[in-house]
């Protein structure tokens, strides 16, 4: 019994202990009389529920839409107060409907994503957030079917601006897209290749951790999460199929991940992330580990926006893993020792304010290699050293609705295997 317990490190037990710590701390925060306008939280909550703060509010608010609800440079016009009580529970969601015409293949219509978000505030400081996703519209227990995934389901314990706790099913804080993936916020029908085969978005796992913000817009997140499973790694898609997705996830050795980002200057976002964890629990005699680092930035100046991201992962022990899998299954997965990718994107709003609708053109260059460095004795396959040009248009009849058209030209370094180009059309919306 004790031997069994000893197998679990402190880091492994941390996800279990953290929720208890969080609860204690948030209750402590609730029990304090907070500074400034905040009264006793129990008084405040009862006032909140009764809506009293709306009528005793010593300060005021106005909603000032621009004339006609459309963009206008001629100032603002009052339309009276538009205040409302914060909702205790709410539902939102987003959808992605695609047409993909891949070279030398029949066109495909795909309702790619149907996502619903549910939230609930137990108190002002204890909140639940969840995201339930149906991919490809249909689920059954066979291959090539869709997926029904619980991508997020966590409770936030909001203690202070600097330190807050969360536990449950979390998004891994790596990359531009993984935590910010609603269809209207990125260009292109499909997510960037780098955010698919290098950073395996949507990357979510069970775990717990802290997050907060310091100074003038310096934020951090640090989580302990279930690790990747090396038995799912592949030559073509790197670590993507190694995600345990919080489904009875093995936490014999938990992974750690974190992100630091700067959001203190208008128009500029910059971040750096890491992930590190042992991955070989399916093969106890094989020591494998993944370390991923990633840096990214977004910058907007007027109608112009630029994005850049670089991600690099070191997969330790893949030589032994390849040999083990070849012995046990007869197939050598030829998993690389290093994978890496980057992309650069520029977009420009060609129909900006004061046009009634918006449209942006964009171009993105991606370079990604899931066999960047191979373990000794394994051959690097050039077909997995790929790059892509994606050009297209995003048309917004409303800021929350986007019609996207793009054309992807994908190339690899192989003289034998071709990568197909594709024409993609997508309709996405958020509500």
């Amino acid at each position: 019994m004790f031997r069994r317990i000893e197998r679990y490190s402190l880091r492994t037990l941390l996800p279990l202990a953290l929720p208890a710590i969080m609860l204690a701390l948030s209750q402590n925060a609730l029990a304090q009389t907070v500074r400034g306008d905040e009264r006793s939280p129990f008084g405040r909550l009862s006032d909140w529920a009764a809506g009293k703060w709306l009528v005793t509010d010593p300060i005021g608010g106005k909603f000032k839409p621009e004339r006609g609800g459309l963009a206008s440079r001629s100032g603002v016009q009052d339309s009276g107060p538009r205040q409302q009580a914060p909702l205790l529970s709410s539902v939102s969601g987003y959808m992605d409907f695609h047409f993909n015409n891949i070279e030398n293949q029949d066109g495909v219509l795909d309702f790619h994503r149907f996502v619903l978000l549910f939230t609930h505030s137990f108190t002002d400081r204890i909140r639940f957030v969840s995201e339930l996703e149906l991919e490809h519209a249909f689920v059954e227990g066979l291959e090539r079917a869709g997926e029904f995934e619980l991508e997020q389901a966590y409770i936030d314990f909001l203690v202070s601006r600097e330190v807050n706790f969360r536990a449950g099913m979390l998004l891994v804080p790596v990359g531009i897209i993984n935590e910010r993936h609603e269809p209207p916020v990125y260009h292109g029908v499909e997510r960037p290749f780098v955010d698919t085969v290098i950073v395996p978005s949507t990357w979510f796992e069970a775990g717990a951790g802290v997050h907060g913000e310091f100074g003038r817009g310096l934020r951090y997140r640090a989580y302990v999460m279930a690790p990747l499973d090396a038995s799912g790694f592949s030559a073509a898609e790197g670590v993507r199929d190694g995600r345990q997705k919080g489904s009875e996830a093995n936490v014999r050795n938990a992974a750690t991940t974190g992100r630091i980002e700067y959001v203190g200057r208008r128009g500029l976002w910059a971040g750096a992330s890491f992930w590190r964890g042992k991955t070989g629990f399916s093969f106890p005699r094989v020591e494998t580990q993944v370390t991923m680092v990633e840096v990214d930035t977004r910058y907007r100046l007027g109608e112009l926006e630029a994005r850049a991201q670089y991600a690099h992962a070191w997969l330790d022990g893949m030589g032994e893993l390849n040999r083990t899998l070849q012995r046990t299954s007869g197939v050598n997965p030829n998993v690389a020792q290093q994978i890496r990718g980057f992309y650069l994107e520029a977009s420009y709003f060609v129909l900006p304010n004061p046009a009634p609708f918006e449209a942006a053109v964009f171009v993105r260059y991606e370079n990604f290699d899931t066999q960047y460095r191979m373990p000794a004795g394994f051959q690097q396959l050039q077909q997995f050293d790929r790059d892509a040009w994606v050009v297209g248009v995003s048309y917004y009849p409303d800021p929350d609705v986007v019609l996207k058209i793009d054309y992807s030209v994908v190339r690899n370094q192989s003289s034998i295997v071709d990568e197909p180009n594709s024409l993609n059309v997508g309709l996405g919306w958020w509500f």
């Binding site: 300060i59 909001l158 203190g264």
Partner: protein, 150 residues
């Protein structure tokens, strides 16, 4: 290894960028806040006790909420559909939290910030220190304080 070193360098740059102190409001000043998934920029505002500040919040994407905890809650309309305006009377020193009150996506709970009201004397000392570096402020009042009920 170069990538690892580069990552470390970027982290250092981010930290140095953030060490600029908070946005400081002066008497009757307008503070503009941009709301975008998933941050308010700026997210920390300092004002002196007794000041009245007009806070204008506009969105760069979807609808957001601006909830000044314990006080009021307004909708911030979508990109290019206008702005929300909140008048804030800094009556008492303290920290006043604000947050997004309309679910806007996966990182909704990250959208938080605070208004720090400092006693007038402390604020003047800090402002004097800034003036030594920046020279005299000749801007004058920008916006007359107004009664929000009007």
């Amino acid at each position: 290894m170069a990538a690892r070193d580069g990552c470390g360098l970027l982290v250092g740059m981010l930290v140095s960028l953030a060490l600029g102190g908070a946005v400081t409001a002066q008497s009757r000043e307008v503070i503009e806040i941009v709301a975008e998934r998933f941050a308010f920029t700026p997210s920390r505002i300092e004002v002196a006790q007794g000041d009245t500040v007009e806070i204008r919040i506009r969105s760069e994407d979807t609808d957001h909420g601006f909830h000044l905890v314990g006080r009021q809650n307004v909708i911030v309309p979508k990109r290019r559909h206008g702005e929300a305006v909140v008048m804030f009377d800094a009556d008492e020193p303290g920290v006043y939290r604000f947050e997004c009150s309309k679910l806007c996506g996966a990182g909704h709970n990250f959208m938080r910030g605070e208004i720090v009201v400092t006693p007038r004397a402390d604020h003047d000392v800090a402002a004097a220190g800034q003036a030594k570096c920046a020279g005299p402020d000749t801007r004058g009042p920008l916006v007359e304080p107004r009664n929000d009920d009007g």
